[in-house]
């Protein structure tokens, strides 16, 4: 086995290297393919209802609450931790926000306009989530209590807090502006198109910037048409999406929020020191420590972000269902974890992408939604979802083995 490869070339222009890129992304492509198969399957099983503009719009809207959680969960699992409390934390945030909306602002600020009270509710929700994240980060990062135990305890505590806050009753949170957060659409429809154009322009600017930067450091570039094709393909997807959801009500506000969060956190995970450190810690904690990376500090921030995202998720939850209940968020942590693992995040840490988790999230939602449309009883929905999860992860592992 002599080393046949010769010198180091940093560029990825040759055909074999494109092949390598495709192989290393095989898992992601396989996942997208699985999603498309599921969509077409249900499309035929439901006589096309499944992929109607209305249901297509719903498919994305329904995933947002757990998908926001899975964005943070990717970081948590990649770093080698777990967070079992996020469902109940989001639930608790939703209950508190609903309570603020229903009772507090009435008595405290009787004449305040809706935009002010809604903003205050949102800020309160984010603050509670983040504060809880800070506590987690401190206990897990600095006191080094295992995350499993810490967050399990939190789950119980939060469950108790939800019962205390609601007193066992349902709290309404259906004020128009507040409901807009999870039930609103970009209106008039032209706003959606403008948004698509703006994103496309940004994509192209980023592409040319990247080329400039590589040029500045003396690298040979991939052919221009290749980059243009890639970027154009992405832009076309966005236009297609906007065009189709505009057939129904327009771009869904919660999906917009989710997209912004997913893009920001993808960026953080790839292009900031914090992101790199998370992956290094999960990949080899000792090597990371000996590279001068503070395990405590980075662990702390992972859980702070997780808490913040649980806050976002809780706000969307309250607005989506329109009230806060004692059952809010129960079991959502497991949906978030499943989405990550389905999306290729390794339970051993070090590997995983936010994009993957989004696809994983969409697969879970697509299944549940499809079975609902087919009027499958909820008992059987659970059975089918469970079976699909195991099969999906098995197929994924088999694919990985073939590659190695």
């Amino acid at each position: 086995m002599s080393t046949t490869t010769t010198t180091v070339s940093p560029t990825k222009s040759s055909v074999s290297q494109i092949g390598q890129q495709i192989r290393s992304n095989l898992q992601t492509y396989a996942l997208v393919l699985a999603l498309i198969i599921i969509w077409f399957l249900f499309f035929f099983l439901t006589d096309g209802i499944y992929l109607s503009a209305q249901n297509f719009s719903n498919l994305f809207r329904q995933m947002t609450i757990t998908a926001v959680l899975s964005v943070g969960m990717v970081l948590v699992i990649v770093a080698g931790h777990i967070d079992l409390s996020v469902g109940k934390l989001a639930g608790f945030v939703s209950v508190v926000v609903a309570y603020l909306q229903a009772y507090t602002w009435h008595t405290l600020l009787p004449d305040a306009p809706a935009w002010l009270t809604t903003s205050l509710s949102v800020l309160a929700g984010l603050a509670i989530g983040t504060l809880y994240g800070v506590i987690h980060g401190w206990i897990i990062g600095y006191l080094r209590v295992p995350s499993f135990i810490t967050t399990l305890a939190s789950m119980w505590i939060l469950n108790g807090l939800i019962l205390i806050r609601t007193g066992g009753k349902t709290i309404p949170a259906n004020q128009p502006l507040f409901s807009f957060i999870a039930q609103g659409y970009l209106k008039p429809l032209i706003l959606g198109w403008i948004l698509a154009v703006v994103i496309a322009v940004i994509l192209f600017i980023l592409m040319f910037n990247g080329r400039q930067r590589r040029l500045k450091y003396g690298f040979t570039l991939a052919p221009l048409y290749q980059d243009i094709l890639k970027t154009a393909f992405l832009a076309a997807l966005i236009f297609g999406y906007v065009g189709y959801v505009n057939q129904y009500q327009g771009v869904q506000i919660p999906v917009l929020i989710l997209a912004i969060i997913a893009v920001i956190f993808s960026y953080i995970s790839n292009n900031t020191k914090f992101g790199r450190y998370v992956y290094a810690i999960g990949g080899n904690r000792e090597a990371a420590r000996l590279s001068g990376i503070s395990i405590r500090q980075n662990t702390f921030w992972i859980f702070v972000w997780m808490g913040f995202l649980a806050g976002v998720s809780g706000i969307i939850m309250a607005s989506y269902v329109g009230y806060g209940t004692i059952a809010a968020g129960g079991g959502y942590e497991l949906f978030a974890i499943a989405a990550c693992i389905l999306g290729g995040t390794s339970t051993l840490g070090g590997i995983g992408t936010i994009f993957g988790a989004m696809i994983g999230s969409q697969i879970i939602t697509s299944l549940t939604n499809g079975l609902q449309i087919m009027n499958v009883p909820s008992s059987w929905q659970y059975v089918v979802s469970g079976a699909v999860l195991v099969v999906a992860v098995y197929v994924d592992m088999a694919l990985k083995r073939n590659r190695g």
Binding site: S2, T3, T4, Q17, T272, K273, A287
Partner: protein, 515 residues
């Protein structure tokens, strides 16, 4: 068929996609001999052994392996079958369960059972018997984790022998052992020979072949270059047949000119992180000059690694003594502190401590140095790639591109990645803990040249090594450690293996003055 031959490879060829790992390999091994196999990394040694051990089953390779006169056909549960046939392998990385006892490990998976219950008395009695038979000095009831590397290896050997192995394969058994332990291992192997066990001995340390083996096979690029009785060989022929060219010197001559003192360590004391009642550094003093290579020698367990890890801020708490960098006293409490003060460390165990194996070469090189390319909100990935590429090129890392995962590289290239990473941090003092462990001769030579280059550029290097030859071949001065203390420093002109060993073992009758 010659009854004296226990194992014969006949035209064995093994292909992987795009690569021929073994190309028409033929040679035979005589019953009861110790047969050395050597070759550079990637020469095909491991592939050959994996065929013997059943990792690559019969049919996945071409050619024949004749064992005791019949063709060896390992098919179903091939690994298990190999064991039953009496072929056992002791891997380079030990495969014991650390949290259970020696006896439990030896009989793991084949515990003596009565009515579904393990008969512990029999298990330990059997263990004792095996250990005594082969003169292995390990307490059967010790927890493996508490043993030293040498004893762990004895346990591993006992485990192989408990299966009544006829052929014992030892894959780089000495890479983690100190000199004294190596001698002990050699004794054990001679004992095995008395009991008629055939040993296949794989090593990068060529001198060992002359100490212990009866014959040697050299592999290069998947082909057998020679099989000869050891008596007919010498070190030069062995090296040149391995690398395929004349290798005049194993240690390149540098043009080092040590300058002024850069690092001064004065009576350093530090606690053991696992056991705060115990001092793991008990008074170490030395100084280091710009552009110098200071070798640290000592037996396994003499506290060498503990010392350098302490200097790097990642071991126990420093309780006494001073560290001065360029005349200024510095405090080191973490790797970050050490790096800020210009100290870098290439750790002993590159897989555990040096690399994130699942990540790319690029990410590994830049990991410790992201501050050079990053603001809080962004990493300049083009600058990162440029700088990493420059280091990868200057160290001649062999890889298709920098996005290849680091675990796809050979050991030597992995080590170069670790070195690149630490060079990028622009150290004044580079600590290298056993930098050539498990690396083939050719790549070792390259790493020595890199070390010379660095010291010529003014970087001060501290090198720990378990191989005395390497210490003598590369250092300007040699500091010897014993029982967590520095016991003497020798100028290279006066240093000999005997003097170093005398200091390291404490047998020296006359104290050698500190320099």
């Amino acid at each position: 068929m010659d009854n004296n031959v226990i194992l014969e490879f006949k035209n064995v060829t093994k292909k992987f996609p795009g690569i021929t790992a073994l190309d028409d390999v033929s040679f035979s091994i005589r019953r009861g001999e110790i047969h050395g196999i050597c070759g550079e990394n990637g020469a095909g040694k491991s592939t050959l052994m994996k065929i013997l051990a059943g990792v690559y089953p019969w049919g996945s390779y071409e050619g024949q392996v004749i064992y005791n006169g019949n063709e060896l056909k390992l098919v179903d549960r091939a690994i298990h079958q190999a064991t039953q046939e009496g072929i056992a392998i002791v891997y380079q990385e030990l495969t014991l369960v650390p949290s259970i006892t020696v006896g439990e490990n030896i009989y793991l998976g084949k515990e003596p059972v009565e009515f579904g219950v393990i008969n512990w008395e029999k298990l330990y009695a059997d263990t004792q018997q095996v250990l005594e038979k082969y003169q292995l000095d390990v307490p059967p009831r010790s927890i493996v984790r508490h043993l030293g590397v040498g004893k762990m290896q004895m346990t591993e050997i006992a485990k192989a022998l408990a299966e009544n192995a006829q052929v014992l394969i030892l894959d780089e058994p000495t890479s983690a052992l100190a000199e004294a332990e190596i001698d002990q291992l050699m004794e054990i192997l001679r004992g095995l020979k008395q009991h008629g066990v055939t040993c296949i001995y794989i090593s990068h340390k060529l001198e060992e072949f002359f100490k212990i083996t009866d014959s040697v096979t050299v592999l290069r690029d998947g082909k057998t270059v020679l099989t000869k009785p050891t008596k007919q060989l010498n070190l030069e022929t062995l090296v040149s047949s391995m690398v395929g060219r004349e290798m005049k010197e194993r240690f390149p001559k540098g043009n080092r000119k040590p300058g002024e003192v850069i690092l001064e360590v004065e009576d350093l004391h530090a606690l053991d992180p696992g056991d705060p009642d115990y001092e793991s550094v008990k008074g170490v003093s030395f100084n280091l000059r710009r552009g110098e290579i200071l070798g640290i020698a000592g037996l396994m367990g003499s506290g060498r690694t503990e010392l350098v890890m302490t200097l790097f801020g990642e071991y126990g708490k420093i309780t006494g003594g001073t560290i001065k960098m360029q005349g200024r006293e510095i405090k080191i409490g973490s790797a970050r502190d050490a790096m800020k003060n210009g100290i870098s460390l290439v750790p002993e165990d590159r897989k555990q401590h040096g690399l994130v194996l699942i990540q790319s070469i690029l990410r590994n090189i830049s990991l410790a140095n992201l501050d050079q390319f990053a603001t809080l909100l962004q990493i300049n990935d083009a600058a990162e790639l440029k700088a990493s590429t420059d280091f990868a090129r200057s160290l001649a890392i062999k890889a298709s591109n920098l996005n290849a995962p680091v675990d796809s590289l050979s050991g030597g290239n992995q080590q170069k990645v670790v070195i690149s990473k630490w060079l990028m941090s622009q150290p004044k003092v580079l600590i290298m803990d056993d930098p050539t462990r498990g690396i083939d001769v050719g790549t070792k030579y390259e790493i020595y040249k890199i070390m010379n280059d660095l010291s010529e550029k003014g970087i001060a290097i501290i090198m720990i090594s378990s191989e005395l030859e390497e210490v003598l071949g590369m250092s300007d001065r040699v500091m010897v450690m014993r029982e967590d203390q520095s016991v003497g420093t020798l100028d290279i002109a006066e240093a000999t293996e005997e003097k170093i060993m005398a200091l390291a073992t404490g047998v020296a009758t006359q104290p050698i003055p500190e320099r």
